[in-house]
């Protein structure tokens, strides 16, 4: 693999994880991100379920892109996604029935997650299979990381536990609001704030590196 191809592959994979994270940058898939992340397990299960669906559906859409007529592409994509969502739901009911019950209707709502449909429309329907899989893996991982982060913050503060294990002992008075719907909004707000602050700081530093302060000749004469 040439250096250029390797760079492209790395970019396809990492783009969705941080720079274009579906939840933290594109603000897509916020409905499940807010609704199911009241515990780490729920966030993890939802993230893995979405990752599996986006991987399988991007693979199929990219593989059959030349056979899918333009006029029916969206309905075909929805059909593909709905199929994999049903399969994932059945597998969840078999392997993790308690988690499947806790996630409830949000597993079915993966069908209408615009994050998945957008990757199919924008990327998988135009690019080769390999790149589509890398793009799906990056986007799915980005979604998983965001949900895991939210689930961890909310469970630790809202229940005083991590993965069900008590962290602060029986004297800890949990902030129940954090595992209720308002807690989801507080958490996503703080994460977005932190991420934007980090990005802005990074941009400022690189701007400083590009334009040193001693360029006095640029200043207008007094």
């Amino acid at each position: 693999m040439s250096a250029k191809k390797r760079r492209t592959a790395t970019d396809d994979l990492l783009r969705g994880v941080w720079r274009e994270n579906p939840v933290l940058v594109q603000l897509l898939g916020l409905c499940p991100a807010l609704a199911v992340t009241n515990s780490v397990v729920n966030g993890l299960a939802m993230g893995i379920a979405t990752l599996a669906v986006i991987l399988c559906s991007n693979f199929l859409v990219s593989l059959f892109k030349h056979w899918i007529p333009d006029a029916i592409r969206i309905s075909t994509y929805v059909l593909v996604v709905a199929t994999f969502v049903t399969v994932v739901d059945l597998l969840l009911a078999m392997i993790l029935p308690e988690v499947q019950k806790a996630l409830g209707a949000f597993v079915y709502l993966i069908v209408v997650n615009c994050m998945i449909l957008s990757r199919q429309e924008v990327f998988a329907s135009k690019q080769p299979v390999g790149r589509s899989i890398l793009d799906a893996a990056g986007t799915g991982l980005g979604f998983l990381i965001a949900l895991l982060l939210m689930g961890s913050i909310r469970e630790v503060i809202g229940s005083g536990t991590f993965l069900g294990f008590s962290l602060f002992g029986p004297s800890y008075q949990p902030w129940t609001v954090m595992i209720l719907p308002p807690g989801g909004f507080f958490t996503i707000g703080f994460i977005l704030l932190a991420r934007n602050w980090l990005t802005a700081r990074k941009d400022r530093r690189s701007a400083t590196r590009r334009w040193p302060h001693d360029l006095s000749w640029e200043r207008p004469a007094a």
Partner: protein, 222 residues
């Protein structure tokens, strides 16, 4: 007068659109059916295990149990020929080591605050007491309504309590029969649990009495 020349577009033939969607639908259906056939027995096996464990819990570990089916308004231990045992309403009769009945496990459900609450409780028809209660399914508010299953003091209220049950504010009981301390912040959920048990006892008690009469007559006939 002639209008501007419009580009001539080549429409995809309808037959191709229909064929593509039909093929995609058929493949999707095939995949879903295959996974369903493979996963369903395992899902049912898990549900049966959960139910078995719940019966053991609410009847304080009986030596063995027998299912009674509600057929034509009467309870019977004989499953009618060709009937689906899962489709019929069932209660579970528990016996001790010397084959004496110890109680009946009854399942009930009603809408709670968020969604339907489904529970199982042990009932002793001889004394009219509830022997224990376990929530099977609930999506009540985390940290508030979910205390109906997580608050051990509330769950313990149902260990050996006379029916009909009567919900009272915590600490405001007047020593009446069947008083259950409700949960502050989860009044609707707690009230639903009590209503489910009272309704099911009211419906099942005469049926159980009639069944016991028939069994006694059958034993005398032998």
């Amino acid at each position: 007068m002639s209008g501007p020349d419009l580009p001539v577009t080549q429409d995809t033939p309808s037959i191709r659109l229909i064929g593509t969607l039909a093929a995609a639908g058929a493949l999707a259906g095939l995949l879903i059916v295959m996974v369903h056939v493979w996963a369903q027995p395992r899902i049912q096996e898990h549900q049966a295990r959960v139910l078995r464990e719940a019966i053991q819990e609410v009847l304080a570990s009986p030596a063995h149990t027998t299912a009674l089916y509600l057929v034509d308004g009467a309870l019977t231990d004989q499953l009618p020929a060709g009937a689906d045992s899962l489709a019929l309403e069932r209660v579970f009769l528990g016996f001790d080591d010397s084959n004496r009945p110890v109680g009946v496990a009854i399942i009930g459900a009603k809408p709670g605050f968020q969604d339907v609450i489904r529970l199982i409780f042990g009932y002793d028809p001889a004394s009219g007491q509830v022997l224990g209660m376990k929530i099977l399914e609930s999506k009540e508010t985390p940290g508030l309504g979910d205390k109906i299953e997580k608050d051990s003091a509330f769950v313990a209220e149902f260990d050996g309590i006379d029916t009909p049950l009567l919900g009272v504010k915590p600490g405001a009981g007047r020593g009446r029969i069947g008083e259950v301390d409700m949960i502050t912040g989860a009044t609707i959920s707690a009230r639903t649990v009590i209503a489910i048990i009272n309704d099911r006892v009211e419906a099942m008690a005469p049926l159980l009495e009639a069944y016991a009469g028939r069994v006694a007559a059958r034993d005398r006939g032998n």
